[in-house]
């Protein structure tokens, strides 16, 4: 068993997915270090690394968001890192796609936009994917490792482009993209009673001036994403390519695994390839344990040394407690494995007692991730 090393060799995009708090960022960074050490020109797109890990990767500066930094310490300059700016994802989208500086400023200054842009669906996720496509098209890297944004559900990341495409659905947006008081709106309200009702309600609810601003916003937005549907199609093509592999990061906890199970099903249904599963923070039961009880072994040992009865009892109790954790984790992981197709590689990383925050720490994970 070679762990994930085979997957790293055979793919040019690896997407690390999973729910929050399971060590996604660290795992993504560690995989990237491994790839660079094995000779691949590699970049890791990271989202929200712990400060010391960000330092180690040279991306501590928020202003470095969007540009790649070379990690000199690893693999002779073959490793780069990039931190995505979580804030202002929509501002970036607008700046990138606005047909003219005037339109750009008009949108960015719109009151409706300013207050609510953070709430637009899927902007962070979409920006991450757009960045991924750009890096991929640049051809500068043999492997791109993507750390996905913390979403409520791991799947949000994959659905973001489609949701955004729906949001900008021309056939519907066109209702909004005309000056609010224009003749066509008035006509519409008479022709379609439901629409008329809706807009009367909306006017009551929001005040007319606010609605004018909303309408202006959509007017400016139209034309912003001229070939957006085409981009979304290309994004999904990349995500479905046989050279793109998904690695699910999980911890062996009931709630996390429930979510993970759903993710595995959906990734398959979306035609994307789940290649590996990483269990982080695993407690392991002692393998092949038999014979005497812990307490008896310690009792026997304590003859003729400084280990007194109390100490022995405390040590034995602590050990048995961890064995219980290990048993539980083992059972849950085993049940989860049964759901996976046999060609999905599964690896286990133990629950390290220290935070991984430097290159050496990332390398220490390779033993478990890549059996190296």
């Amino acid at each position: 068993m070679a762990g994930l090393s085979e997957i790293i060799r055979n793919h040019d995009v690896i997407v690390c997915a999973g729910s929050g708090g399971v060590g996604k960022t660290t795992t993504a960074a560690s995989l990237a270090v491994y790839a660079a050490l094995s000779g691949k020109r590699t970049i890791v797109m990271t989202i929200d690394p712990a400060k010391r890990l960000a330092n180690a990767l040279g991306v501590q500066n928020l202003s470095s968001g969007g540009t790649a930094a070379t990690v000199e310490a690893v693999g002779g300059g073959r490793l780069s890192a990039m931190m995505l700016d979580q804030k202002g994802a929509w501002d970036q989208l607008v700046e990138r796609h606005a047909p003219s500086p005037e339109v750009r400023d008009k949108i960015l200054r719109n009151r409706f936009y300013m207050h609510l842009s953070e709430a637009f669906a899927g902007s962070h996720e979409y920006m991450a994917i757009e960045q991924l496509c750009e890096l991929h098209e640049s051809g500068e890297y043999d492997l791109i490792v993507v750390d996905t944004p913390p979403t409520r559900h791991a799947l949000d990341f994959l659905e973001a482009p489609q949701r955004l495409a729906d949001f900008l659905d021309r056939s519907v947006v066109k209702w909004f993209v005309r000056p609010y008081f224009s003749a066509s709106w008035t006509t519409m309200r008479f022709v379609n009673r439901t629409v008329g009702f809706l807009f009367r309600r909306l006017e009551d609810a929001t005040g007319i001036s606010a609605l004018t601003e909303v309408s202006e916003f959509f007017t400016s937005m139209s034309g912003l994403f001229e070939n957006f549907e085409d981009r979304v199609r290309r994004v999904y093509e990349l995500l479905r390519a046989p050279t793109t592999g998904f690695v699910l990061i999980a911890s062996p906890e009931e709630q996390v695994l429930k979510e993970a199970e759903y993710f595995c099903q959906q990734v398959g249904a979306l035609g994307m390839g789940l290649r590996g599963v990483v269990f982080n923070r695993v407690h392991r039961e002692m393998p092949g344990r038999r014979g005497d009880t812990t307490a008896n072994v310690l009792k026997r040992l304590s003859r003729g040394c400084t280990l007194d009865e109390n100490m022995a009892a405390a040590l034995a109790e602590n050990f048995e407690r961890y064995e219980a954790l290990g048993r539980g984790d083992g059972l849950r992981m085993e049940a989860f494995r049964e759901l996976l197709s046999t060609d999905v590689e599964v690896v286990e990383v133990p629950n390290f007692t220290s935070d991984v925050h430097n290159i050496d720490g990332l390398r220490a994970m390779h033993e478990f991730l890549c059996a190296a």
């Binding site: 729910s19 409706f112 809706l198 606010a210 009931e254 405390a314 961890y322």
Partner: protein
């Protein structure tokens, strides 16, 4: 300053919002608080946002329909709240004509609007919570709930939820949305009715995020704060002397036969001592930087975390709530 007020003990306020990073046990703490509330004789509602029925499961029950309170124990109901169904419910209240509503719900523009309108789901979710917190029973005229516990989404998203009324109010000052948003802001910032508690583990990333969240809640959202629940804390009576003693035993006949087991015992002891040190370090940081009561909850060594473990934590939370109430009385 309203946020500094500590005139009430932890569960005396009607709305208790529980926030925290993913994976730290936020839902567990919310469940424990709800159990305590119900045991103290309060009619308690535990509302879960986009939670897929986790809270109900932890209380040993199956989830009910979206937006419906499902009784799970005496004095305790759970509810899954989601923006789209909350909006539908809201419209049913303000638009009495069913036939018109049906046409609206079925129209493409409505569906588009609901899916795309920024912040609408968040706003409606908070609106639904407000409705439950303020609601009066139709027959008795009393409050439907003495205590509403909101299990908010993971940190970043909960800021989006809790900040939405303010954003909506700033955009739509006039009109219904502006007025309704103001009522939500009033509730969320009222130290007599509301408290927000943070849940974290005593580790680097969760503590960083908790302190950031703490500052944002206090300064940007100006919400009254409750306590910090520090979950999964390792405390151990093991220390370096145990390891040294164990090492001193490693000679003699028993060694070879027992060596694998001894190695494991030593490794697990190191692991526990290591976690206890990390947890102590970050507990201290929290105590120094967050000016809030800290409720420490132990790491539970269980094969499986279920309803029994939740009850165990609830007992500890209850002790903390009761002692905080006692301190309040002592001061008064």
């Amino acid at each position: 300053m309203a946020t500094r007020r500590t005139s009430k003990s932890l569960l005396d306020r009607r709305l208790h919002v529980v926030v925290g990073k993913g994976g730290v046990g936020k839902t567990t703490v919310a469940c424990a608080l709800a159990l305590v509330g119900s045991k103290l004789g309060k009619k308690t509602l535990l509302a879960e946002v986009d939670g897929a029925g986790r809270a109900a499961a932890l209380l040993g029950a199956s989830p009910g329909a979206l937006g419906e309170a499902k009784p799970v124990r005496p004095n305790l109901s759970v509810m899954s709240v989601e923006g789209t169904s909350a909006l539908q419910e809201y419209l049913e209240i303000i638009v009495p004509v069913k036939r018109v509503l049906k046409a609206v719900f079925e129209s493409r523009i409505y569906r588009y609007f609901v899916a795309a309108a920024p912040g609408l789901k968040e706003l409606m979710t908070i609106g639904k919570i407000w409705y439950e917190a303020e609601r009066l029973d139709e027959t008795t005229g009393e409050r439907s709930w003495d205590l509403v516990i909101l299990d908010a989404p993971a940190t970043g998203h909960s800021l989006q939820y809790l900040g939405m009324p303010r954003a909506a109010h700033d955009v739509f000052r006039a009109g219904l949305v502006g007025r309704e948003s103001q009522r939500l802001i009033d509730l969320l910032t009222d130290a007599d009715r509301t408290a927000v508690s943070l849940v974290t583990t005593a580790e680097e990333m969760p503590v960083n995020e908790t302190l950031e969240m703490y500052a944002k809640l206090r300064d940007e959202l100006q919400m009254p704060l409750g306590a910090v629940f520090v979950n999964r804390v390792h405390r151990t009576r093991l220390d370096a002397s145990h390891l040294a003693a164990l090492d001193s035993c490693s000679d003699g006949d028993a060694k070879s036969r027992d060596e694998p087991l001894l190695t494991e015992i030593r490794d697990r002891a190191r692991e526990e001592i290591g976690w206890a040190a990390i947890n102590a370090h970050y507990l201290e940081r929290l105590a120094n930087e967050a000016k809030l009561p800290i409720v420490e909850l132990p790491f539970l060594f269980a094969e499986e975390f279920g309803a029994a473990e939740c009850q165990q934590l609830a007992a500890l939370v209850e002790a903390a709530v009761v002692s905080s109430a006692r301190r309040q009385r002592g001061r008064a």
